[in-house]
């Protein structure tokens, strides 16, 4: 037992020392690099903004549900950032369902999903006027399979530039 502790301590001490050494080196070296970067950024700033691609990722939903899941909230936050870079872009938010359930109800469910995404983006500061919603219910599956893997991919909201 004591032997093991001794090993661990023996390992930690040099590592900690190494770390300190690294930090010291870094502090010394970092200053000039940062200055250089700032200079470059200042020169290329107008071009770099255009380079952020207009890519909006789709989000997914649980079965028969339309609330935005925490992991998908992060995707919507990224989408909101993109939309802020392109203030003139308008998007259609499409709501989709898996093939289970009845057609008419799935149309209403898809609409709710599209609206959940729209509401979340509105909350993140995107103007409502830039977004419209449409439900395709179960009409346009992403995956044509008939199993849970396919269904989970099909329960989604997609963002299409107008």
């Amino acid at each position: 037992m004591y032997k093991r502790l001794a090993y661990v301590i023996a390992l930690i001490i040099p590592l900690a020392l190494l770390n300190c050494a690294k930090k010291e080196i870094k502090v010394v070296e970092e200053e000039p690099i940062v200055e250089e970067i700032i200079e470059i950024v200042e020169e290329e700033e107008p071009e770099e903004e255009v380079k952020i691609p207009f890519i909006l990722s789709r989000i997914h939903f649980n079965y028969d549900k339309y609330d935005v899941r925490p992991e998908d909230a992060k995707i919507l936050e990224k989408n909101a950032e993109v939309l802020k870079v392109y203030p003139d872009a308008r998007v259609i938010i499409e709501g989709h369902c898996d093939e289970r359930g009845t057609n008419e109800y799935n149309l209403a469910l898809g609409e709710k999903r599209a609206n959940s995404a729209k509401d979340y983006l509105t909350m993140l500061g995107i103007s409502k006027d830039r977004m419209s919603t449409i439900s395709y219910g179960e009409e346009k599956p992403f995956d044509l399979g008939h199993n849970e893997t396919a269904w989970s991919k099909n329960r989604r909201a997609e963002f299409v530039r107008k």
């Binding site: 289970r100 359930g101 009845t102 008419e104 109800y105 209403a108 609409e111 609206n115 439900s135």
Partner: protein, 398 residues
């Protein structure tokens, strides 16, 4: 025997409940339906029309059997005979033992209208002998899935004479007007789902609702004057009704949950619909002004697609069972008498015939989504149409 007791109890509950003031028009259906025994004689024909003889008899016999008013036996008192002469079918109903003629009626018969002529004769026999309006000439409307869209098709109630309507739209939801002349349908247009009215005779198409988002789930009132439907412009789906003459619309539901799939009671005083306001989709009934909402279904977590029986006493709907399968149920509008009618595959889109004795629906029990009919109690289930791409949204005309 138990069946009898259950149905009698249901009747007593209905008649003694305060809800009786609502849309109840009860047929007295205690135990087995009473059927009239009839005998269908071999039909006669002149030599030139001989090829039609067996077909004519077969169509009429099938219609009469399907109607549920008759039991076809060998030696009944009431006999039906047919006589085919040049371009004419003469149907005679007579009674034994003295061959007393009750009715005799003639029909224009051509090779091109053979089924239509026979269905007309069948409905006349039903009216004369059972005193009811037959359904032999009614049509079933549905959507067939093509490569990129869905087209509206209609066929005779027995699946014959399927005709695709000449509409170049991606249709997803439809309703047939009571006189069977117009169809309300929704179709995708400019990233919205708009609502149209289509005249089958003139082939004229009218855009009747084009709000942002969904304009869908149409349902005609029994008098054909009003249309209930769903709009999503308010941020979620809400039920509206439209006066078809003035195009004036009125909103009936007000909440943040899903409200859709309206269906009228036969008197037009009430509307049943689906809402997930309780947390799961369930069926509710409200007055046609939006007041007096009450929940109808309490079993399970998925009850959708309500269709009010033209007789007023029951609603057919689709429920998802514990094993995630969709099945068609009927329930009395009092909430009693919940009955499952289907047991194989997934079954959805129930729609009643005007006599309230039959239901058409879509089932995938054989793999593909096919069109079926069954009797009101789930008996006599039969496939009437198949199409490679699958069939959707069945609606029985009146």
């Amino acid at each position: 025997m138990f069946n009898k007791i259950i149905r009698l109890t249901a009747l007593i509950l209905v008649t003694s409940s305060p809800l009786f003031s609502q849309d109840v028009w009860l047929r007295l259906e205690v135990g087995e339906r009473r059927k009239l025994n009839i005998t269908i004689d071999n039909f006669q024909s002149i030599l030139e029309m001989e090829s039609m003889r067996s077909t004519v008899k077969e169509i009429i016999e099938k219609d009469l059997k399907f109607s549920l008013y008759f039991k076809i036996v060998e030696d009944a008192v009431t006999h039906i005979s047919g006589d085919i002469t040049e371009n004419e079918l003469c149907i005679t109903v007579y009674e034994m033992p003295r061959k007393t003629k009750i009715i005799e009626k003639r029909y224009h018969l051509l090779l091109s209208n053979i089924r239509e002529a026979c269905h007309t004769a069948s409905d006349d026999i039903i009216r004369f002998l059972a005193g009811e309006n037959g359904i032999s000439r009614t049509k079933v409307f549905f959507l067939k899935k093509m490569k990129d869209d869905k087209k509206i098709v209609y066929a005779d109630y027995d699946g014959f004479n399927a005709t695709t309507l000449d509409i170049n739209d991606f249709c997803v939801s439809l309703a047939v007007s009571p006189n069977c002349r117009k169809i309300a349908y929704s179709a995708y247009n400019n990233d919205n789902l708009y609502l149209y009215l289509y005249d089958i005779e003139t082939k004229e198409k009218e855009l009747i609702s084009y709000k942002e988002g969904l304009n869908t789930a149409p349902s005609f009132s029994a008098d054909g004057k009003r249309l209930a439907f769903t709009l999503s412009k308010d941020g979620n789906t809400e039920i509206y009704i439209m006066n078809l003459k003035t195009k004036e619309t009125k909103r009936l539901t007000f909440n943040r949950s899903i409200d859709t799939s309206p269906t009228w009671s036969p008197t037009g005083r009430e509307i049943a619909f689906v809402s997930d306001r309780s947390g799961s989709p369930q069926i509710y009934i409200m007055e046609s002004d939006g007041s007096g909402v009450r929940r109808l279904t309490y079993n399970g977590y998925y009850n959708t697609s309500p269709r009010w029986s033209p007789k007023g006493d029951k609603i057919a709907y689709v429920a998802m069972d514990e094993d995630n399968r969709l099945n068609i149920y009927t329930i009395l509008i009092t909430g009693e008498g919940r009955t499952c009618l289907t047991f194989q595959g997934n079954n959805e889109e129930p729609s009643w015939s005007i006599d309230g004795l039959h239901i058409t629906f879509i089932s995938n029990r054989n793999g593909l989504r096919e069109l079926f009919t069954m009797h009101w109690d789930g008996s006599g289930q039969r496939k009437i149409l198949t199409y490679g791409g699958g069939l959707y949204s069945s609606r029985w005309s009146q």
